[in-house]
């Protein structure tokens, strides 16, 4: 009996000694459990899991159509359920009391700041010709920096801008369509436009593509010195807009209304509008230069060929490009 009593007291004392450890002050205020919340979270997790499994199943089953839609739906819904679960968890199952935390003071570390400045000052104490030394360091740094940057010039021609002026068009180069078939004057009809390329030269260079239109020769008002550039009223211009390099792929032409505007070549990017009857003059839009014109001639069998080079530099403008 006495033994039991002693044993009981010892046990009780032990428990009492452990108690302060258990009863330590809480960080977050105690709150009642929320069985409903836990159930909802569990259900949402279950739904999300089902959708994730659904994603794997859809991925595995090739014979299901609309894979992209089903996969997106499964994965999206899975994330949506998990988002809902996390939200319910955040509002129901964890402490939601607001806390305070002090902002840093404006003058947080005055002593450290002072010491850093002092270190910086004393580091340079022994130097007598500091300005000269700084100059030397700056010069060395600049030179080394330049040496390390210069290899990027291997990426392309830097000082030589002549490639910008090169085009495959010379006198006698015949015009072909995108499939390489020779274009004849008879092929070119009014009220529509054609894309032409130089025969025997790659199409994918900025100086290659032309836009061709046919106008009534009596309506042409080409600039001086371009007499005979448009045989039978067929006009050729560079297809690349002088504003931002897009293909001039629209032809505004009055098909039905006699009152509508005169024919114009229009770039679909920023709607620079050029007058094909007047040597590619800008009618509207941001282009600062006319569309370069290519003189044409009609050779044997009615084939179309260039009668020379472009009137202006082709492609988007750059500093130093010549104006005419």
């Amino acid at each position: 009996m006495r033994r039991w009593l002693i044993a009981g007291i010892v046990l009780l004392l032990k428990r009492m000694r452990r108690r302060p450890d258990r009863k330590r002050e809480r960080i977050f205020a105690e709150a009642p459990p929320s069985p409903v919340g836990e159930l909802v979270v569990l259900l949402l997790l279950l739904c999300g899991t089902a959708c994730a499994v659904g994603f794997i199943v859809v991925y595995g089953l090739d014979r299901l159509g609309s894979q992209t839609q089903l996969l997106g739906l499964a994965l999206g819904l899975s994330f949506a359920f998990f988002a809902a679960a996390a939200t319910v968890f955040a509002y129901r199952l964890v402490p939601t009391a607001e806390e305070q935390e002090p902002y840093p003071e404006p003058d947080e570390h005055p002593d450290d700041e002072r010491e850093v400045v002092q270190i910086a000052e004393e580091s340079g104490d022994r130097i007598t010709r500091s300005r000269l030394l700084k100059l030397g360091v700056a010069g060395a740094g600049t030179a080394l920096g330049a040496a390390l940057v210069v290899p990027t010039l291997s990426c392309g021609p830097f000082l030589d801008v002549d490639p910008l002026r090169r085009t495959p068009w010379r006198r006698g180069v015949r015009l072909v369509d995108s499939l390489g078939r020779v274009l004849r004057a008879d092929d070119i009809e009014e009220d529509t436009f054609y894309t032409a390329f130089p025969h025997g030269a790659p199409h994918e260079q900025i100086g290659a593509p032309l836009v061709l239109v046919r106008l009534d020769p009596s309506e042409l008002k080409l600039p001086d010195g371009r007499k005979g550039w448009a045989p039978e009223g067929i006009l050729a211009y560079s297809k690349i807009c002088t504003h931002a390099g897009c293909a001039v792929a629209l032809y505004r032409t009055p098909l039905f209304e006699p009152t509508s505007d005169k024919p114009a070549l229009v770039c679909p990017c920023h709607y620079s509008t050029f007058d094909p009857a007047a040597g590619g003059r800008v009618l509207f839009g941001p282009a600062g230069r006319p569309l370069p014109q290519l003189p044409l001639e009609i050779g044997g069998g009615g084939t179309l060929a260039a009668a020379g080079g472009f009137s202006d530099a082709i492609g988007p403008s750059w500093w130093g490009v010549r104006r005419t």
Partner: protein
């Protein structure tokens, strides 16, 4: 069970602390207080969109071939069969049609990029309107603006890599804008592209390395810096009970705020994957491969570049010339000068405001927009200025929708771009003052009814 888990936690914390001394830092991080307001979530949405971008981006990289080598399409998609195209374009078509979940990941990647920039733009607007950019968070703001610029370039490179018709048209414009820079534009463009447009094949590799490594890495590092700087100075908060310049009031990161933020992360992922699966975006097989001589009408870039297209379209057609030579080609104004001015204004704004108000103090409390009529009006005017130019970028779509002639529209926009910011400035300023007055009126009425002249401090300014 619970005792066991506690034991494991205790051992883990001890293990880490003994080897890194991290316990004090972890304790502070866990109890870091997040003040709550819906507008604070915009930055988080951008962050989680970035995570989705990286994840889906890694997936699409596994199937993308960054090469402009010519090839002929022989895949499943009938309309393109037999067509000559680049390896890059072919690989994206294949990824869309034959790789399982390929189209889902590609479309989610594209949607995530669009949502990323939306969230960033709204986040920056929030910061501007509430004065969150003031000392001691001006550095956080500058880092943020740098990230906006990188995000725009990163997005542009993303859709340029594909080498479909829209990619090519966008690149032609980028090339022309580079060419238009006075004194060295042509040299710069030739250096970057390697040859006159469309450039040499290596150009694709150059875009690729920037899109998949350099820019994402820069963004990740800057996001880290952005958050680190913010955490050391702490989040801002709106004034309220207990919320002062001295202390932030909000939910501790663990256990209260973290699950909310995780919930938001999942919600962002949910929206992006639902969009990616159910809403088609950039169906490149409809545009076709890029060919220099082709263009398409009604071409619109991703929304976040619309303001540059607008700038290019609005500019009246002239080049600045010296004698017979061009000095400043037209594309410079809309494509280079305009965005430079916009970013310059953003960078200078904290300084401008400091100069104008003479306020050099610390600010942890945010302003309600109405309480700072001058700032709210100026920021609104600035945003409306960019917004008009942005709308002008789709003037051709407005023409199709409403049958107003395109040239008339451009003239309307040219007038609006000068006039609207002024109108918005005075309108918004008036609105702020009216809101303030109506508020104090309510309070005064109540005070009179209760018989006590109680106008809270700060509202009678």
């Amino acid at each position: 069970m619970v005792g066991g888990a506690t034991h494991v936690t205790r051992r883990l914390v001890r293990f880490l602390d003994e080897r890194s001394g991290s316990a004090p830092l972890v304790r502070r991080a866990l109890r870091y207080v997040f003040p709550d307001h819906w507008s604070f979530l915009l930055g988080e949405i951008a962050l989680y969109s970035f995570v989705v971008l990286v994840g889906t981006g890694i997936f699409v990289t596994l199937f993308f071939e960054p090469s402009l080598k010519d090839t002929v399409y022989r895949g499943d998609y009938e309309p393109l069969r037999g067509l000559k195209m680049s390896e890059a374009y072919r690989s994206v078509v294949e990824m869309s049609f034959t790789v399982k979940a390929g189209l889902l990941m590609r479309q989610t990647h594209h949607w995530a990029a669009d949502v990323f920039v939306v969230a960033i733009v709204l986040h920056v607007s929030r910061v501007l309107f509430t004065g969150a950019f003031r000392k001691p968070r001006d550095l956080v703001f500058y880092v943020g603006v740098v990230m906006v610029m990188i995000a725009l370039l990163e997005g542009f490179l993303g859709y340029s890599l594909v080498d479909d018709l829209l990619s090519g048209m966008g690149l032609a414009i980028a090339y022309s804008v580079a060419m238009s820079i006075p004194f060295f534009g042509a040299n710069l463009a030739l250096l970057v592209w390697g040859a006159p447009f469309p450039g040499e094949p290596a150009f694709e590799s150059r875009m690729y390395i920037f899109h998949v490594l350099i820019f994402p890495l820069a963004l990740a590092l800057l996001i880290g810096l952005h958050l680190l700087l913010l955490a050391t100075r702490h989040h801002t908060q709106f004034p309220g009970p207990g919320r002062s310049e001295r202390a932030a009031v909000g939910l501790p990161a663990v256990p209260s705020y973290a699950p909310r933020s995780i919930g938001l992360a999942f919600a962002v992922a949910a929206v992006l994957f639902l969009l990616g699966g159910l809403v088609q975006i950039n169906p490149i097989w409809q545009w076709g491969p890029y060919e220099l001589a082709q263009g398409t009408n009604g071409a619109q870039p991703d929304w976040y570049l619309g303001w540059l297209i607008g700038g290019l379209r609005l500019m009246p057609g002239f080049d600045i010339t010296v004698g017979d030579y061009t000095l400043v080609p037209n594309a410079f104004w809309g494509g280079a000068a305009f965005p430079l001015v916009v970013f310059l204004i953003l960078f200078l704004w904290p300084t401008i405001e400091r100069r104008v108000t003479g306020d050099r103090g610390f600010h942890h409390l945010l302003d309600r927009p109405r309480d700072r009529p001058w700032r709210t009006a100026t920021v609104s005017a600035f945003i409306s200025w960019v917004a008009v130019v942005f709308l002008a970028g789709s003037a051709d779509r407005i023409y199709v929708l409403f049958s107003i002639p395109y040239e008339t529209l451009i003239w309307i926009f040219r007038v609006l771009v000068l006039l609207l910011p002024v109108i918005v400035f005075f309108l918004v300023k008036r609105l702020c003052v009216e809101l303030q007055v109506s508020e104090t009126y309510e309070l005064r009425r109540k005070a009179l009814e209760e018989g006590a002249p109680a106008v809270p401090a700060g509202l009678d300014r």
